[in-house]
Amino acid sequence: MTGTTLYDKIWNAHQVEAQADGNGLLYIDRHLVHEVTSPQAFEGLRMSGRNVRAPHKVLALADHNIPTTDRTGGVEAIADPESKLQIQTLEKNCAEFGIEYVAMDDIRQGIVHVTGPEQGFTLPGLTIVCGDSHTSTHGAFGALAHGIGTSEVEHVLATQTLIQSKAKNFRINVVGDAPDHVTAKDIALAIIGEIGTAGGTGYVLEYAGPAIEALSMEGRMTLCNMSIEAGARAGLVAPDEKTYAFLEGRAKAPKGEDWDKAVAYWRTLSSDADAVFDKEITIDASDLPPLVTWGTSPQDVISIEGAVPNPADIADEARRKSTERALDYMGLTAGTPMQEVAIDRVFIGSCTNSRIEDLRAAAAIAKGKTVASRVSAMVVPGSGLIKQQAEEEGLDKIFIAAGFEWREPGCSMCLAMNADKLAPGERCASTSNRNFEGRQGRGGRTHLVSPEMAAAAAVTGHFTDIRNLKAEG
């Protein structure tokens, strides 16, 4: 008999029942809820007279829609009436159904995928869902975590389970040492560039190998976050000492004897040496340059040393047309070196890159420099606690002195549901996860980069090879 993959182990441990048709009824350990994809689910429960089965396994907060500017006026002062109603609705629903709600003025408030791990709500070996596709982030802890739609939010609230079809196993080995200034973000983009945005469809990705082990927990979260951009519902990294060190002592992590028992179990959570994967690739991190996207799909990836691709070089008609459409939307001319492309805006934030390590890396570049006169740049920390820590470290002062705006935590311009958005035609170096048409505002042009690369672009006014930019002594 062959061994078992990490994904299969978690699946097996959570299967309440195997259905005759091959699907499984899977138990869900943790459910994160936010204001945008939940109101219709709670309404559904009310309409059918159903209750929330396990309210203590649910954690709710508002992140997508909240302002990142001054919040001292509270929810009542939110200018957009629809945003305000959505946030008030979440608060009311949580009170009605007995769910813990992290309010906007709570220091723990932040992006769900930042707050969850920060509070120890996320733990290895759990099944975690949220009505948000970037739930894959939590896979960094060796948890099976994926996004669901609102109907499934309602299903999980009512039953604490989901009917799931089993995904296939896809292992991505990342070997070699990533060079200086090549980050988890670059590794994620390199993988998506390699396998494409549908390359992971139908699979759960397991990231393995020395370059993954070398990543911090923050880096692993960045990497797993972008699994969905490769089409995979979930990404996994097997838990290790770094995982336990990150979690120990966090508010919702187990304590004392329970902690020891949990760690002993978590140590069993890795793919067996003889486990068979349906698909497997290897990427050498030591070859990677810092990357930037040029188009309107996260797979449109190129080295910072590269140039805008030429559609005429693409034989396949559908792909050529798609590239022409992307270049037209992005306002780019084939053959232009990426480092000559000037930018208007910089966004450092999102569930991909808003953690303390990301802010430190960006601040190290911004220190002693000034945001280029043509550029408007903002930093949006992932949670209130990260904001506080960054301020204790003086990072806010570095950003503000350089001319960045220092904002309150939230999803902000990653999806531009609140007031933070691009104007038509504006070009943005963004640490977020999607460069789709209109993603950051209608007509806005998004280029995905790492926090260091975003900071470098901010101070030079154009995309810049971070390796050639001298950090302040």
């Binding site: 309440v16 219709q40 739609g149 009512a158 469809t201 089409g231 798609s322 459409r325």
Partner: protein
């Protein structure tokens, strides 16, 4: 949920790869706390100018396709976010079936929860249906879920695959929460066993 068994309707060609959920329903329309009423904003930034005028050459604005109930699209349809507002908007507009070579996983799943049938077909079949769809209102297509077949305007038939459980739910319009609640005893038993892992 609305049942789906047989559908005869106009198929609109949306010959674009990677149609993402931000295209299907841009985020400014996600602020609603209801499911209904999103059809008017379906493909908003492709259908309308910033001033709100119709973009004449967008497929669903063309006279032949304004009543389309079927979309034929490029690879990886529905990629991006988990927003169920995407199928809600399609349904509210009147789209009950989408045909493509591949779908993003979460979107695919969300369709079935809303009485929409997403059909995966090989490239050559999608190409054929795309060519047929480009013929406009004369090109009606019949989808029969029970027999898992698509009948094109020329009478040719294409078979498709669909998960048996999802097919049953669509055919009968079943509420799968209700089905799962019937398994309450099994869930209770599973939860009792959780005592050995108190951190869960």
């Amino acid at each position: 949920m609305q049942k789906f068994n047989q559908l005869t309707g106009i198929a609109a060609p949306l010959d674009i790869l990677n149609v993402d959920t931000d295209m299907i329903i841009p985020k400014q329309f996600l602020k609603t706390i209801q499911r209904s009423g999103l059809g008017k904003n379906l493909f908003d930034e492709m259908r309308f100018t910033p001033e709100g005028e119709e973009v004449a050459d967008f497929v669903l604005n063309q006279p032949a396709y304004r009543e389309a109930e079927i979309l034929v699209a490029g690879d990886n349809f529905g990629c991006g976010s988990s927003r169920e507002h995407a199928p809600w908007a399609l349904l509210d507009f009147g789209i009950r079936c989408i045909i493509a070579t591949s779908f993003a996983d979460i979107f695919y799943n969300n369709c079935f929860k809303n009485g929409i049938l997403p059909i995966v077909l090989p490239q050559e079949d999608v190409d054929k249906l795309m060519e047929d769809a480009k013929r406009g209102a004369n090109a009606t297509v019949t989808i029969d879920l029970e027999s898992q077949t698509i009948k094109g305007p020329d009478g040719g038939t294409i078979a498709f695959e669909v998960d048996a459980f999802r097919k049953k739910c669509l055919l009968e319009g079943l509420d799968d929460i209700g089905l799962t609640l019937q398994r309450g005893d099994a869930i209770d038993a599973y939860e009792t066993d959780l005592a050995s892992q108190p951190w869960r």
